[in-house]
Amino acid sequence: MNAPIRRTAWVILGTFLALILATTWIQAIAGPGYRDDPRNPRLTAWRVGRERGAIITADAVVTARSDPHPTDPQTFTRVYPEQDRYAHTVGFTSVLFGSRGLERTRQNDLVSHRDATISGVLNVILGGDPRPRGLRLTIDDALQQAAIDALAGQRGSIIAVDPATGAVLASVSTPGYDPNTLIGPDAGPVGTELENDPDQPLLHRTINATYPPGSTFKVITAAAALEAGIAGPSTEFPDPVELELPGTTATIHNYDDDVCVDGRAVTLEDAFVRSCNTTLAALGMEIGADALTATAEAFGFNSVIPYELPVVASPMPDAATYADDPAAAAQNALGQRDVRATPMQMALVAAAVANEGNIMIPFVVADVFTHDGRIESSTQPTLWRRAISPASAAVLSDMMEKAVISGTGHNAAVPDLRVAGKTGTAEVTGSAPDVWFIGFAPVDPEPGERRIALAVLLENGGPAGETASGGSVAAPIAAKLFEAYLR
């Protein structure tokens, strides 16, 4: 009389086997499909609803914070009180568009450490703090505002760094966007509009767009000549009205279609100060592809700058591609043709000259602090590369200072401040030139004195359009920034 009971038992155990199979199917095989289903509220809840740490500037302006939901204390609303002012650097975390900026790259600090990993559990058991960390940026809010004001209504970028440490002091890319409008599940139309905007407000121009550097690249050309011993500041060059490019019918002219000095002879220093294309192009041919590309690469071209946000490399053509093409060497030496640079790359060129030829790794997060405001870790300044010798840097610094005192960069001058810099007016086929200024100040810092190196870029001439030059449009902006930060 046990047989039916035994059979009943087998049937019930069989249904349990079916449960195990169904559960395995749902969790192991179909699992990722359910997990990643856009209707799964966990996606939103995890990305957007978790508490994240605050992000503040060096002078304690809050750029991102998490407010607890009024009724559900488990979820939080991310708020960016500064709206578009820090959008590209701080980024956002959104239901529909994922995460960008520091919100993405420093996610591990910004979200809580309450995870199920052995280290996470051990951390809590050992008394560690699982609450989210905050970030203090290196950015100076007043300088940031000066940069924002200077670029108002324009497409462009400003990046300023401390040449001695690599700390980013201001980073602006315009036009910007308000990250608050992209957070929620209803942000689709706003996001589509931003994505389709021809002015590309979502593009982080400072690190993700490259432009012909134009005459600002002459710093690198001059550095190549100094490093290779081809020329010094007083080495004399011919001073023609135009320079014929071998193997082509093209010629190179100076900015005003005239001689550089007097039509007879010109020193490298004078040519640099006046930004003479004929002289530097001839010098470029003399330097040759190998040394030119090698020097540019020493400054960081063709490398990804190890910043806290993803940076595109600034392309410098491989030497082999133009070793037998002096015309290309001449045009590349002027920062045209195949050379492209991000504004951050050009700011690092100026910083290298300011810092005895050494480029520090740029960083924007100064400190990671705990929920109760204690600093947990600080970014230590780290050398990225030695671009040129201190001697060459000193010569370049001197030439760049003269360019501001008496040359194309005179609009960058600030009374009672020793400013060094180089302008750039890069020809862009079919539209107004992209205008640049790169530079630094003060040239001779007292011990402990603040220093700043920067790059200013305005696409297509900025407000001046076709008539724009780096000296007329970008240099005055640099002067304002020097004043804002150092005065």
């Binding site: 039916p4 169904a22 997990r35």
Partner: protein, 431 residues
């Protein structure tokens, strides 16, 4: 010897529960707090008192029942604490009360033995009937029925002095009483039912008067379905009756008739009731009406899928997004936070419990004890299958509790009583 092993395992289960409480605290960024100690104390009191009762009055009881129950309750209480600390505090009281009731049952049966229950079967039948009908009491009475989530399952009593409302689900207790009745009835009749038959055409069918119980069963289940709108309880009752009839008589006729009646009743219910149709379509296409009927099933699937193999970790998932996560859908909540590893462990634990239960039935020499053990085991097995199957979409959602794990005093009380009865039955077989 076995009692000492049981004591160690129950202690381990209580430790597991308090470790769970500690993990919930860690996940919320707190250090150890009183909840951890309270959880341990409530488990030690609840399962410890059953253990002591076994030790004193049923020393040969099967030593595996209590540890499995403790394990399941530990996982359940962790998840309830993680979802709703207030409910968890209540659940600790229910645990202690259920443990005391189970220990009291073992004490009551200490000298008379389980056989005493056999004598009072009609008392149990009447009590079960009254309990099943209680939720139909009008709302104006001091004891009244209440509709929760569309099902009239609850009875509420206003406590005038405390100013509170006491709620319970009488059906949970009724099903245990009905099992006792049925075991007793079948112990007297099964021999006749399994041998006496009448030939109709090619079929051997039982005497018509032996069809009485199954008709009663179908009727009771259908009444529950219609008046209380409770698909789960009605199916459970029906499966219990048919399962016990088959287990006692070994006649496939009862199974066949049972399946036939279920099909008829199911078809009728589908044709007659909107809420049944909605539930069936939500079962087959949960995403077709995602924001409506399919929402709960879909949330369960999202939870389980997000849990994946190892789960999010206790306190780190979002089972709070699942409707009824502390009761009907606690399996999905555990599956999210403990992953496939946790969900399979739970299913295996129920399978283990069912195996132990049927083992007790198979070893019993006395018919009543045998049928009672089988019936109680069927109850646990079918109930846990039905609700988990609803969550993993092997079956429509039935809305019943998961024994030992779901929040709820009535459910815990019933589950603890089942453990006490099974323990007593296994004890009597050993002596």
């Amino acid at each position: 010897m076995t009692r000492n092993t049981e004591a160690m395992l129950v202690l381990a289960g209580a430790t597991l529960a308090s470790l769970g409480a500690a993990m919930v605290g860690f996940a919320e960024g707190r250090w150890l707090d009183a909840t951890v100690a309270l959880t341990f104390v409530s488990f030690a009191l609840a399962f410890g008192s059953i253990h002591v009762a076994f030790r004193m009055w049923a020393p040969n009881a099967n030593p595996l029942l209590l540890p499995i129950a403790t394990f399941l309750a530990a996982i359940g209480s962790t998840e309830i604490l993680r979802l709703d600390p207030d409910l968890a505090a209540l659940q600790r009281w229910w645990l202690v009360l259920a443990g005391a009731a189970a220990a009291g049952t073992v004490w009551l049966l200490r000298s008379s033995g389980i056989a005493v229950l056999r004598r009072y079967r009609y008392l149990f039948l009447s009590a079960a009937t009254v309990l099943l009908l209680l939720p139909l009491l009008p709302a104006s009475w001091p004891i009244y029925g209440a509709v929760v989530n569309g099902s009239r399952l609850w009875v509420r009593i206003d406590l005038p002095l405390a100013g509170r409302v006491l709620s319970f689900q009488p059906g949970e207790i009724a099903k245990v009483l009905l099992t006792i009745f049925l075991a007793s009835y079948l112990a007297d009749r099964s021999e006749a039912m399994s041998t006496v038959s009448r030939k109709v055409g090619p079929f051997q069918i039982p005497e018509p008067r032996h069809l009485g119980p199954i008709v009663v069963a179908a009727g009771a289940a259908f009444v529950v379905l219609i008046y209380q709108r409770d698909l789960g309880a009605s199916l459970l009752l029906f499966a219990l009756f048919v399962g016990m009839l088959y287990a006692a008589t070994g006649r496939g006729f009862y199974l066949g008739t049972g399946l036939f009646l279920v099909t008829i009743a199911g078809g009728a219910a589908y044709a007659m009731f909107d809420h049944v149709r909605v539930r069936i379509s939500a079962w087959i296409h949960p995403f077709a009406d995602y924001t409506g009927a399919g929402y709960q099933t879909a949330q369960g699937l999202f939870a389980m899928g997000s849990g994946s193999l190892t789960g999010s970790g206790v306190g780190l998932g979002r089972p709070d997004l699942i409707p009824a996560a502390t009761t009907d859908f606690i399996f999905a909540a555990v599956a999210e936070e403990l992953g496939l590893a946790g969900s399979v462990a739970i299913i295996v634990a129920y399978a283990f419990l069912v195996t132990v239960g049927f083992g007790i039935a198979l070893r019993s020499r006395d018919r009543f004890r045998k049928y009672l053990a089988a019936g109680l085991t069927i109850l646990i097995g079918v109930q846990s299958f039905l609700i988990i199957a609803g969550i993993v979409r092997l079956f429509p959602i039935t809305g019943i509790t998961l024994p030992f794990m779901s929040y709820g005093g009535s459910s815990l009380l019933a589950s603890a009583l089942i453990v006490a009865l099974l323990g007593r039955i296994s004890h009597e077989e050993q002596t």
